[in-house]
């Protein structure tokens, strides 16, 4: 199968992807390089010790000064999902709805290519962007091993994998909403609200008893919110995230077949 639409969208997003990845790489590098300075700062741990509510606000479990606690508090529990979802929700919403609104999609949709192939290539472009971004974060996290961040590389890579799937899933949610409604703003709005709810569920469920069963509804919980960096992601994490992704991809294809373009 030709990948010309995939290449086109990657070319259109190149600058943005480079900016997001470079910014996140630099930030990750600063965080891991600073770790030895804070490793023995017990006062940091005092902030959250015995105060699970404060920890929950940061999306944390366990010690702040442990390698995984340090990375979670500074990257994985907040900045990584924030920037990753900005990237993927932004692309998911613009790939169909945004390009239809700005008028560029019609010229592609009248090419002799089935709509299914067109949207599958857009989903592939989403995956490629997310993999590149996650790989960069993963690579710079691995640099942390030289700065006393003693987390097994396989666990860092596996967590990058679940983070990547999280980004793809929310990107596909935005893509399917855009394909169903043709409205970029609506797609961004609903997906962002879902992501925010997902974040709150994942981070607050440990301290609010009645919310605990609902954390399973949060994609963040299956990706990075269940101490994946400390314990390593489980097969169930991957399976849930992949299943959601496949369902959203199917929805995107079905919705795009029915969408009226401009």
């Amino acid at each position: 199968m030709s990948t010309r639409f995939l290449s086109l969208d990657l070319a259109l997003r190149r600058r943005l992807l480079i900016a997001y990845s470079a910014g996140m790489a630099l930030y990750t590098l600063v965080v891991v390089v600073l770790y030895p300075q804070f490793k023995n700062t017990t006062s940091l741990d005092a902030l959250t010790r015995g105060n699970s509510a404060a920890a929950a606000l940061f999306g944390l479990t366990g010690s702040l000064t442990s390698p995984s606690g340090w990375l979670n508090a500074n990257i994985y529990a907040n900045f990584l999902p924030l920037i990753l979802l900005l990237l993927t929700i932004g692309y998911g919403a613009s790939a169909v709805a945004g390009q239809d609104e700005d008028g560029t999609l019609a010229l592609l949709a009248v090419l002799p290519v089935p709509r299914k192939a067109l949207i599958l290539q857009k989903a592939a472009a989403l995956a490629v962007q997310t993999v590149i971004f996650s790989a960069v974060v993963c690579a710079f996290t691995l640099v942390g091993r030289s700065f006393q961040i003693a987390i097994p590389p396989s666990r860092i890579v596996a967590t990058a994998g679940t983070a990547c799937l999280l980004g793809v899933d929310f990107g596909l949610l935005a893509l399917s909403l855009g394909a169903a409604t043709g409205r970029k703003g609506l797609s961004i709005g609903i997906t962002t609200a879902t992501a925010a709810a997902s974040y709150l569920l994942s981070s607050l469920a440990p301290v609010i008893h009645w919310l605990q069963p609902a954390r399973y509804l949060s994609l963040l919980y299956w990706s990075i919110g269940d101490s994946q960096l400390a314990k390593g992601p489980t097969v169930a994490d991957f399976l849930v995230l992949a299943a959601v992704g496949i369902a959203l991809l199917w929805t995107s294809v079905a919705a795009f077949q029915r969408l009226d373009l401009h």
Binding site: L12, G103, A106, V110, L111, V113, R115
Partner: protein
Amino acid sequence: MPAPAISLERLSKTYGTTHAVRDVSLDVAAGGIFAFLGPNGAGKSTTIRMILGLQHPTSGSARVFGLDVQDNMAAVHRHIGYLPGELALYPRMTGHRLFEFFAHAHGKIDRTYLDSLVARLDVITTRPVRELSKGNRQKLGIVLAFMHQPELLILDEPTSGLDPLMQHEFELLLRETVGEGRTVFLSSHELDEVQRLADKVAIIKEGQIIVNDTVRALSGGLPRTVEARFGTHLDSSLFARLKGVRIRENTDGHLSLEVSGAIAPVLRILADHNPIDLTCRQASLDELFLTMYSKPANPEPTGHEH
């Protein structure tokens, strides 16, 4: 008998309670230029988008060269070149990169033909789209529609933004295209252009076809305007007995008549009163179109059904 280039059968599109297109049936024979006209918001673009498969009909069907558009989208698109009314291109991309992308997407194209299009339309291919004027962007759109030499060209306001020289070159291109047996479905507000170029015309108003006829037949039925100047005032009752004559103006020796009947009796009366000046011209299609545009839509189209 070959299938029509476009065949619409009771095509309708409804958005909520708004009927954008209602029961439109239309055949566009292969070869020639078919003009598709109508005021803004009449349903032109919606109809075009349904022909292209961009939008789904609420009811009815659209066929291109005998293929149902919804069932054979990719196959139909192989035959079509499309220039949208509101052309949007990627702002950072140069014409050269655009042509490369679309050339690959179409598969094999004749590079010599592409080069000749670029040369004759004087297209700027080396600068990003965002740096180009509207006319130069429009030329990129024209090349994108023509580059793969499609059997059917669907062109929405193609000369928008082009200078007169380029409009002339574009007209030559259209004539060559139909000369090769290909079909052009043209939507335009340039009524002069339509009258010069089109073989057939359909007018859509309030989602319905109100005219579907040949340009020749429409022109033949148009009234003539006769204007004459006299040294003195002429009595209007002189024309009262003549059929098909309407007095538009008769003031200060200036007489203007609309004549849809025989011309000879009118000329005899005028000659008898020693006119200082006399002109006779046929109304342009502009006037007919403007009349049609402003009349309420009628479910039964005028002219011949073909």
